[in-house]
Amino acid sequence: MLVEIRNLRIQFPTATGLSDAVRNVSLTLGQEKLGIVGESGSGKSLTARSILRLLPSNAVVTAEKLTFDNIDVLRADETALRRIRGARAGLILQDPKFSLNPVMTAGAQIAEAWRVHRGGGRRLAGQAAIDLLAQVQIRDPERVAGAYPHELSGGMGQRVMIAMMLAPDPELLIADEPTSALDASVQAEILRLIEDLVSRRGMGLILISHDLPLVSHFCDRVAVMYAGRVVEELAASDLTRARHPYTRGLLECLPTLSHRQKRLAVMQRDPSWLET
Amino acid sequence: MSGVLSREWLLSETPASRAHAAWVRRYRGWLQFRANGLAMVGLVTVAIMIVASLAAPLLAWQNPSAQDLAGRLAPPSFAHWLGTDELGRDIYARILYGGRVTLGMVVAVVLLVAPIGLAVGSVAGYLGGLADRVLMRVTDVFLAFPRLVLALAFVAALKPGITSAIIAIALTAWPPYARLARADTLTVRGTDFIAAVRLTGATSGRIILRHIMPLCMSSVIVRMTLDMSGIILTAAALGFLGMGAQPPMPEWGTMIASSRAFILDQWWVPTIPGIAIFVASLAFNLLGDGMRDVLDPRQR
C-alpha cells in the first residue's frame, strides 16, 4: 500500500476561528491510478498535497493515519520528508508558467532534480536531462534544455515538469490538474504521456481534475470530492452506475452530442451533502 | 437581520447592499490593521503627537521663547521637565511647539503634493500619447535629483526659512505620486466600466476626476503616510543645515543645530529633539506600513 489516508482533516484560521477545508477524508492507493474529481474548493489539491506535507504554513492538519509506504508523514520531520519528496513521490502542478522557476533553464531544473537524488556530475546530469526530455516526447531536447520557461509553450512546459519529477525515478506521481491550463488538443497528449510513463515504470498515480470523463478514461478508480469530503469512491468503469446524487449530477451536466437535449442540465445542490 | 454597525453585521459574508459591502470591507481592513501590533503603536503615537501639538499651549506651561541666560543648559528638573537649552528656554515647551512646526510642515507639504501628483499622474495615464510623455519627462527631471540636494538648492535660491523649506520639499516630493497615480490609471484605463462611462458621453475631465482619481486614492494615501516620515527627516535635515526653519523658531532640526556644540556635557539639549524626530518618523513609518499591508500590499 503506497498511500494510506484515514480521517484526514485540514483546517485554516479565519477571522471567525478555524474553518474546515477538508474533513473526514479517507483514501488508499496501491500501485494503481486514482483519480480525484471535484469542483474548485472541494479540497482535492489539499488532500493530495498533504501526502507530501506541502501545504501552506498556516494549515492545521490532523489525521488518524497519513502514511506513505508506512512512513508516518504527519509526524515525520523535515529531513525524513525530504527523503520522500522528489525521490519517492513527485508532484506536477497546473500551470508551468508559474510552477517552473522563471530564471533557470529547463535543462538546469531537470538536472537539479537528477543530481540531488542520484548524484553525479554536472555534465552527467545535463545529459540525463536531455534524455528525459526525449522520453517525454520533446522533439528537440537540446534546444528545450537550454530554453527558459517563458520561451516554452504550455504543453512543452508540462513535459518539462513531468521530466523533472520523473528524473529521480519515484514510486508515486501526484498530478494536480496537469492539463487544466492547456489547450484541449494538447490535453489528451499530455495525459497519454503520463499514463504511459507511469505504467512503464510501475508507479502509482493520483490524478486530480475537475474533468470527470477525462479522469474516468485514464484512471482505475475515481474518488469524488465535494466541499472537503469524499462523497463517493468507485471503479472508473462503474462510473455510470454512480449512486451519490452529486456524482450523478456531474454526469448529467455533461453536454453530449449522442442524444437530444433541449436544455443543459444544471446541478441542484442539496445542503444535506455538506453533512457526513 | 442584526443591527446596523453591530459586529455581526460588519462581519457578514453576504452583504445586503453596496454600502453594506463597503462597511464590511472597511471593518475587515480595520481588523487586519488592528491585529498588527506595530501598526497600532504607530497609530496611537501619531494620534498622541497630533493631540499634543494642537494642545501645545495647554500642555506647555512655560513659554517656549522665554530666555533665561542665568539658567541656561540646566538638566531636567521639576521646573523644566526636559531641562533648558543654550538660551535658557524650556526644552519641553519647545518640543511641543516644535511638534506643531514639524507636523504643520508635513501636512502642508502633503496637501500640496498629493493633489498635484495625483492630477499629473492620472491625466498622463489617461490621456496617454504626447501629454503622457511630456508629463513623465517633467516628472523624471524632478526625480533625477536626490530629494535633499534639490531641496537645498531651492532653499538657497529662495530665502532660507520655513516657507521655502515647505516649497522646496514639496517640489521634490510630488514625482512619486505622479508615478503611482499613472500606474493605477493605466491599470484601470482599459476596463469595461471606464469604457461604459465614456459611452455615456462623459468628458475626459469628468472621467478622470470622478472615476479614475478615486481608484488611485488608496495607493496615494499609503504613499502619503509612508512619505511623511521621510518629509519629517528632510525638514529636520534642512533645519539642521540652517536652511529650514530659522531660529528662534522651535523646529526640532534647528534646535539640534544651535545646541550641537553642547553635546559633550549637556547631551540632552541636542539629543531630546533628536529623539522627538526619531519617534515622529518611526510612528509614521509604522502607521504607513500597517496601512499599506491593508490597502495596497503590492506597494513597497
Partner: protein
Amino acid sequence: MLASSFASVPLTLFGLTLVTFLIGRVMPIDPIIAIAGDHAPPDVIAAVREQLGLDKPLLVQFWIYLVNLAHGDLGRSVMTSHPVTEDIAQYFPATLELATTAITIAIIIGIPLGVIAAARQGSRFDHAVRVVSLAGQSVPVFVLALLCLLVFYVKLGIAPGTGQLDVAYEGLVPRVTGMLVIDSVIAGDWDSFWDALAHLAQPALVLAYFSMAYITRMTRAFMIEALSGEYIITARAKGLSATRILWRHAFGNIAVRLVTVLALAYAGLLEGAVITETVFSWPGLGLYLTVSLLNADMNAVLGATLVVGLVYLVLNLLADLLYRLLDPRVA
C-alpha cells in the same frame, strides 16, 4: 526598450540643466554685490553685471550657460576662487570613497539579513530585523552621526575625530585617486593608511546603517513575494534542501530586481553623504555643497547640484540597463 531608455537621457539632462539654471536666476542675493562689494559705485556694479552676463535676456543667459556646460565650465566659486569644476574634481573622490565603503558594508550585512528574515517570517529574528531596519529609516542621519561621535570618539575614545586624516598625517600622501585609503596603499604609507581607515570607519558605518535599512527591507519584501511563488512548491516537491530553495530558487529570482535596488541605494547615499560629511567634516562633495550654501556661493551650489543630479541620473540609468540585461524574461 533599451533605445527609449537612452533617448530619455538627453531630455532629462536638459531638464536638469534648465532647473539648475532657473534656480540660479531666482537668487535673493545679488551676485554682483557678492563680487563688487556692498558699497560699490553704480558704474562698477554695471561693469560687473556686464562681466557676469546678467544684463542679457534670460534666454541668452541660458544659452551661454549651456555652452559653458558643454565646455565643462561651471563658473567660478566665489568662496574658493577656483573654477567649480576643479573644486568638484577635488572633493568628489572623498564622497565616492565614503559612499562605496558604506554600500559595500550595507550589502554584505543587509542582503543576508533580509533573506533570512524572509525565510523565518514572523519569528523573533524577523521582528528584530524589521525593527532595526525600521529604526534605520526613522533616525535622522545627523542625530546618529552626532551620537556616534559623542559615544565612540568622546566618551569611549576608540574612534578618531572628524576629518579624513589626523592633522599629523596631513599632506604626507601624494594624491592619485583622491581617495586617501587607496592613495596611501599606492604610496606604501601604512601609517597613513591605518589612520585614513580609522577616520573612514565612523562616517562609513553611519551611512552604511541607513543603506542597510533600505536594502534589508527591500530584500525581505522581494523574498517574501518570491517565496510565495508556485515554483517554490515545485522546488519543495523535488526534495531540495531549504538552503538551496532559499538562495538558488527564491533569491535567484529576485537578484535582478535587487540590483536595481542597490543602484538606487547607492544614489540615496549621495543624499545621506551631504549630512554625514557635514557632521564629520569629511572633505567631500556634500560638505562642499553645504559650505557653499552657507556662503551663498550660487555657482558652487548649482555646480554641485548638477553633478549630483547627473550621478543620480547615471545610476538610475545603470539600474535600468542592468535589469534589462540580466533578467532572462526581458531579453
